[in-house]
Symmetry: C2
Subunit: 221 residues, 2 copies
Amino acid sequence: MPTSTVEDYLKCILLEQQRDPEALVSMRRISAALAVAPGTVTAMMKTLADSGLLAYEPYSGVRLTDSGRQLALHVLRRHRLIELFLVKVMGMDWSEVHSEAEELEHAVSDRLIERMDEMLGYPSADPHGDPIPDVHGLVEETVLPSLLDCELKVPVKVTRVGDQSREFLQLLEKRDLKPGSLLRVETRDEAADAVELRLDAGKRFTLGFRAASKIFVERAT
Amino acid sequence: MPTSTVEDYLKCILLEQQRDPEALVSMRRISAALAVAPGTVTAMMKTLADSGLLAYEPYSGVRLTDSGRQLALHVLRRHRLIELFLVKVMGMDWSEVHSEAEELEHAVSDRLIERMDEMLGYPSADPHGDPIPDVHGLVEETVLPSLLDCELKVPVKVTRVGDQSREFLQLLEKRDLKPGSLLRVETRDEAADAVELRLDAGKRFTLGFRAASKIFVERAT
DNA sequence: TCTATACTTTTGGGTAGTCGAAATTCAGGC
DNA sequence: GCCTGAATTTCGACTACCCAAAAGTATAGA
């Protein structure tokens, strides 16, 4: 059974890999994401490679093997189900569940996680709109446009947010930009680094490009 | 912040101390309870003593200090609230929640545990009848008679069981001897090592002294 | 009083994970 | 082709656990 440290490394690599499925994941990215020294990552990558969980190319980076990927997906499944459980059942705020799930994902048994899944009605996405892998590790990967790419002046629905930080989520909460919210992008001004939104209620709100790129939408039906 | 290993040692010592509040807790008991080598316990006791969590008397044993006791009570609170939560909210079997709680007690945040407490209506006992310390670490210690000490032929109610092992709990479940169940002790035969019970429904069942000593009752009102 | 035995402590050693700093490698610009 | 800067790897060292086995201690019974 993998230690919780190993689970953290695998999950982190999976997430980094998803940003750019072609490339190998560099030591630098992992070391930054997990806040450990670069040398520590190199050492860990060697032992994970020895366990057959990933392929390690010295000076280039790593890529998960099938078994490593499978394991990482199970951790991700636990993480996201727990987040949804904390929001839906425990009534916690979605801006505080990420760090809580970060701990719990290593402690819950398979039995308990399946019970949560059942209670939640086998959901397909967590409170941030991230897809939940099923019990066999299958995920539906959909690429959504962000507020930077979507059509202008057309009603869209927020379906996913790409930043778990407390501050960002609290902003979205306050401005009613959570998954499910409806809005339209009125204008984009590259020079001003500004994306102007009109919310469902008619209120207007402006985001910077950086923040806008972290909100993903789909056409409102 | 104490590691989960330290929390396990403290909880274990608290529990052993409760069996015999006068005596010091020996290395042997701790080593047996936690399934670690005796030398490992001695080493850990020295570091815990250095941290001011317990008093260590070489060749005699240890006793928790106030701060050690406080910490242990918080772990115990988490453990017992989690057990009750798993039974009441998650619908798990009481014979399987102990080991699950053993992991979760080190992972849940204070925030989440208080949320559970609230959802459960600030309960005073876990599914086995063990008292739940309050948020300040206060517990009501009540000494109850077991099926070995209680009056004969008088209606009593099971209120606490002193063995968390799966097999024992499954037996109690099957025989309807869970906390809340009503029964009478008909006879005790020391030579035969037998305690004869008459259950509420009228059925009769016989336990050995060893098992009978692990079921605690109070007079039925 | 002495000793057998059960318990405790000490010692030496091992694994997992971490860091800081020195040494190495790679890739882009000249 | 060489140099430089960034990334990577290597190295020595540390903490927190853990074990097995040798050595020491306490005590109950002869």
